[in-house]
Structures are given as C-alpha cells and as structure tokens.
Amino acid sequence: MSLIVADDLTKTYTTGTVRMDALKDVTFTIDRASFVTFIGPSGSGKTTLLNLIGALDRPTTGRLLVADTDVSTLDRRAAAAFRGQTIGFIFQEFNLMPVLTAYENVEYPLLLIQRVAAAERRRRVLALLEAVGVADQHDKYPDQLSGGQKQRIAVARALVTNPQLVLADEPTANLDHANAALVMSTMRRMRDTLKTTFVFSTHDPRVMAEAEIVFRLEDGRLVGRDVTGAAA
C-alpha cells in the first residue's frame, strides 16, 4: 500500500526571466513502513523533493499524494496542520531549540502542536528518549550534547507525534562515521518497531547502504530505483 504517490512532479523556480527546473517529471511511489533514500549530487533536486513531500513547498505541476492527502493543494494553515499530524522532520544540522532541554525539545510537538495531555506526553517522551538511547541526557541543553546525541534527540522529536512519515534531509552529514552509523541504526530500529516510513536524502555511500530502496536523482530527474540488500 503506497504512502506517497508522486505523479509527473515538476518544480520550476523563476528568477526574473530565468527559469530553472529543480525537478522534472518525477514519478514514483513509496510504500508504508519503507526505509527509502534519495541520492544524487548537490543540486540534483533531493531537498526540493523532500520539501514537496513534506508539504513545505508546492509542485509547479503534477500531483503528490502523501497519506492520501493531495499536499499540492493545501494552503498555508492546512499544510502546517498536515505536517504537525502526519510528518516528522529530521534536519542535517539537528535544529534543536537551544533554549529547551533534550526532554523539552522532544516534548515540544506534543505540547504546542498536537496539544497532548501531560501524562501521555511524559510517557511518550520518556519512552522515545529511552528508545533512542539518550534518556540519561534528558535534562541537558543542546549545547551540552554531542552531534550524535543531538541527532538522536531529533529522531525522538520527529517520532514522538506518531507520524506516518519521517523526512530526513542529509541526517548524517554533520556526524562522524560512528555517530552516523548509530543514528542510522536508530532510525532503522524505530522503523522496525513503530512501522513508520522513513524517507531521507544523502550522498554518503555508507548511509545509502542502510536504505532498502534507493532513488537516484540527477539534474532534477529521477534516473533510477534500486532495491538494496538491506531490504532482505
């Protein structure tokens, strides 16, 4: 069953009289509970595609269904509400709020987006901090944590709302090999446990190997789809 259906997606940026196609005629589907990556060189359209899937931007043409919702038609508020209920985000630079502790960062979406009751919030936050292996760091602020710890907290924050989809743009780009491997194995484990679909972008070959399906992008076009050994 497909969670994401992209049909002939094109995204064109116009600067003055100059038009630039960031994505051209991209068509694919991604099933639920998949562990998928988009790869390609810089400027190939990975981030643009993730932005479209995440309802952060709209395609110029084409249709994009995410969790049965046509995200290309959502207005600003509806898109925000959709993201808050359906999608978790993991960023290359972690993007934790520096004034909140690890616990509070994970709690934030439950508190200010989904408005979950206190007891349920506490249960879910502690469970996820435990699951990603940073429970003992719950009262630390981001500047007191290592890169790997920050990204695992970001993973917990992305998953705490029980999203159907987690989007991660270059999640290991700012991590050393050991921490990158740890974060990837954490993400994979969480997918196995929660059955959440993970879609991420990378250009790191070691990270690509963790993905079950690899989509290759070049110059805004989808040029390949590979099923890797990780899928077995």
């Binding site: 932005n51 995440g54 952060l56 931007d57 600003r76 508020r77 925000a80 509400a81 959709f82 993201r83 808050g84 209920q85 999608i87 978790g88 985000f89 960023f91 630079e93 993007n95 709020m97 520096p98 004034v99 909140l100 934030y108 979406p109 508190l111 200010l112 987006i113 924050r157």
Partner: protein
C-alpha cells in the same frame, strides 16, 4: 501558555546582555515618568493646597459679574442678606460641603498717621474664615491667629514698608457704596505673609467693623468661600451648588449668582496645567523609548532565529503560536523593565521623602516636597508600557509568523 512564557523568558536570558540593556532602558523611562509625576503631583498638590487652604477656599460663590470686576472690588455687586440666606441654605444642604466663610471685600486707604497706601480688606467672621482656610493661621507670621473686633491683620508688605508693629493703632479709610467716606481706627493684631508673593495687599478685619466702616445696616457679602470635605469631589459639588442656586434664581428667590472653583480664580491653575502637559510629554517620551527599543530588540531576535522559526514552522507549529511566542517575549521584556522601573521609582520616591527637599514659592519658604507612591498612577504607566511593548512586538512577531518554512530553513 506557560510553555510559551518559559520559551520567551529563556530566549531573553539567552541574549542576557541585550535583554538587560533593553529592560534597563524601559526601566529608566518608567523611573523618570513615575518620579516626575510623583514630584510634580506633590508640587502642584502643595501649591493647590496653599491656594485653597490659605486664601481662596475650594470654591467661591459670588453675585453674577463680580469676578469679572474683582480688581475693583465693587460694592454694587453684592449678595444681599436674603441672597446669602439662600446660598447658606444651599451649602448646608450639600453633604460634600465642610464649611464656608462669608466675606465683605472692599478697597481702602491705610494710614499709620505719617504714610498712607492702598489696601484690600476682607471683612470676615473669624471662626468661619479660620475653619474654611485651615492654613490661614500659618500665614500669620507675627501676632496671634485670632481676630477680634477693633483689630486688623495687615500684609507684611505694609508692616515692613511702613514700619507698622503689632499693637500700633492705624486708620483705615473707605468709600461706601453711596460715595461717602468713612474712617476707623484699628489696632494691628497680626501680620500676614502672602501666598502669591511680595505684591500681596490683602488684610483682614472683623465683618462687623467692615459693616460699620462701610455704613451698612445689614451685612452684604462680596463672596462666600467654601471648603469641601473631599477635594476630589470638587467638580461634583460645584456642579450641584451651581445647579441648586440656578434653580433658586429661576424661582426668583435670589439674584443671579456664579460659582467658581479655585481653578477659575487662581492663575496657578495654568501652571498646574503646564506641569500636567510636561508629565504627558514625559509619558510620550517613555512610549517612544519602549516602542523603539522593544521593536528593535525583537526585530534582531527574529532575524537571529530565522532557522529556528523555520524549524518549528516545518514541524507544524501554527502561525498564531509563533506570533504568540514573540509577542510574549516582547511582553516579558516590558514586564521586566516595568518591575525594575517601578521598584527603583518607588525606592527613589521614598528616598526623596527621607531627604525631604525644600523649596520656596512666592513668600512661602521651606515648603517640603513630599511625593507619594501612587499605585494607581504606577498601574496606568505600567499598563501603557505593556501595551506599547506589545505594539512594538507585533510587527516583528507577525513577520516571524508569516515566514515560509522552506525559505527560513535555507537561512544560514
């Protein structure tokens, strides 16, 4: 809401020095306005007290047209005994009136047998006058604060200028309403300092001496000075008295009268208005300080946190929540400035009272400035600052809430 407040406060402590400087700027503005308003309020209150409690009374009743001709002290625009009876009845019926004093005012010549000069005299019932002007006794710098028949209290200008001493016999010469001249010998029993300055030429004598001098069979009255129980009720009581007297006039019981509050009788009222305008200007200055400083710091805050805003927007935070986050931050900055400002201002006002600075006004010397901490006034100023802090935050907060997450996330 508590989470938004927590985030706001933590973001303020994150940029500790900048927040402290901005809060200090707001605090300085609050201190300046609160202390200035307290000091100017104390000064005007003291001056108004001097005017009303030592000279004018809180309000006065005259025959219509008298005040317009008051420089001439006309004897042709008097309240007759019948008029006075109605006015007294009206005043006694007003629960806000504490006391009143009937005055027979006239111009006279004053002679110590070697020199002669002009003088304005007030014929009064001493007990009524003293009750209505409780500070009058303090103006009597020499002699006793009493006035018996056959005695006169003269302004110190005359006493000093003509070398008149307590117990001296002087002659007062006056022209009555019919144009005939009469004179009386009186004994100087007191010397009076003038509230308004060295030009004062007002003296006091017993009303029966005044009637005798002016050859009046029945006491006609130039003005009735009124003291209220509560000065803050001035306009209400004046309105009620005015209305009641107007009804009596309409009913044909008395001649047309006019009721003036101290504001219409003393030029100091214009000074008080000017001081109030200055206080308003100081408040407007405070508004400008708060508006510019809060807007500036919040704009900087938004520009520095574009990526954070993009992140929380991407996660699904609604624009109104982002707006609230920044408005609360600006509001917290205002609250911090207000708390510091009010506390320091209150301490400064208490300090002024401990020091007890004195000043002179006219011939009054050693007047002690005693500003009071006015909680209501502080509340109003604090409310204005809070409102302006919110206004100063709205534009940056709106800008933050309208950011496109995809563009904000690209921000370095």
């Amino acid at each position: 809401m508590s989470t938004l407040i927590k985030i706001a406060v933590r973001n303020l402590t994150r940029y500790r020095r900048r927040s402290f400087l901005t809060a200090s700027l707001i605090a300085i503005g609050v201190i300046a306005v609160v202390v200035f308003e307290a000091a100017s309020g104390a000064f005007t209150g003291l001056m108004i007290g001097q005017m009303t409690d030592a000279m004018l009374g809180h309000l006065q009743v005259h025959r219509r047209g008298y005040v317009a001709s008051i420089d001439n002290l006309p004897l042709t625009l008097m309240l007759t005994p019948a008029d006075v009876a109605v006015v007294e009845q009206t005043l006694r019926a007003q629960p806000g009136v504490e006391s009143y004093s009937r005055r027979l005012k006239f111009g006279a010549m004053f002679s110590n047998y070697t020199e002669t000069t002009a003088l304005r005299l007030n014929g009064v019932h001493p007990e009524d006058e003293w009750r209505t002007l409780p500070l009058l006794a303090s103006r009597i710098t020499r002699g006793t604060a009493t006035l018996e028949k056959g005695h006169i209290i003269i302004p110190d200008l005359l006493a000093n200028g003509m070398g008149v001493k307590l117990g001296d016999t002087v002659v007062v010469i006056a022209t009555n309403r019919d144009g005939s001249v009469n004179a009386a010998q009186l004994v100087v029993s007191g010397v009076l300092a003038n509230v308004t300055g060295p030009s004062g030429r007002d003296g006091y004598l017993h009303i029966e001496d005044a009637m005798s001098l002016l050859r009046m069979d029945a006491p006609e009255i130039s003005e009735i000075a009124v003291r209220l129980k509560d000065f803050d009720q001035l306009d209400q009581v004046a309105g009620a008295v005015r209305s009641a007297l107007q009804q009596s006039t309409t009913a044909g019981r008395i001649a047309e009268t006019e009721v003036h509050t101290w504001e219409g009788l003393s030029p100091f009222y214009n000074v008080a208005v000017l001081i109030n305008i200055l206080a308003l200007s100081a408040t407007l200055g405070l508004v400008a300080i708060v508006l510019v400083s809060v807007m500036n710091v919040m704009l900087m805050s938004v520009y520095e946190r574009v990526k954070e805003i993009g992140t929380i927007a991407a996660m699904g935070t609604m624009p109104r929540t982002i707006l609230s986050m920044f408005v609360i931050e600006g509001l917290s900055l205002g609250v911090l400035g207000i708390l510091i400002g009010d506390a320091v201002a209150a301490a400064a006002i208490l300090g002024i009272n401990v020091i007890g600075p004195t000043f002179n006004f006219g011939r009054e010397t050693g007047l002690v400035l005693s500003p009071q901490v006015d909680l209501w006034q502080m509340l109003i100023i604090s409310g204005v600052v809070l409102f302006v802090a919110v206004v100063g935050t709205v534009q940056p907060a709106f800008k933050a809430s309208r950011m496109e997450p995809v563009e904000a996330l690209r921000h370095g």
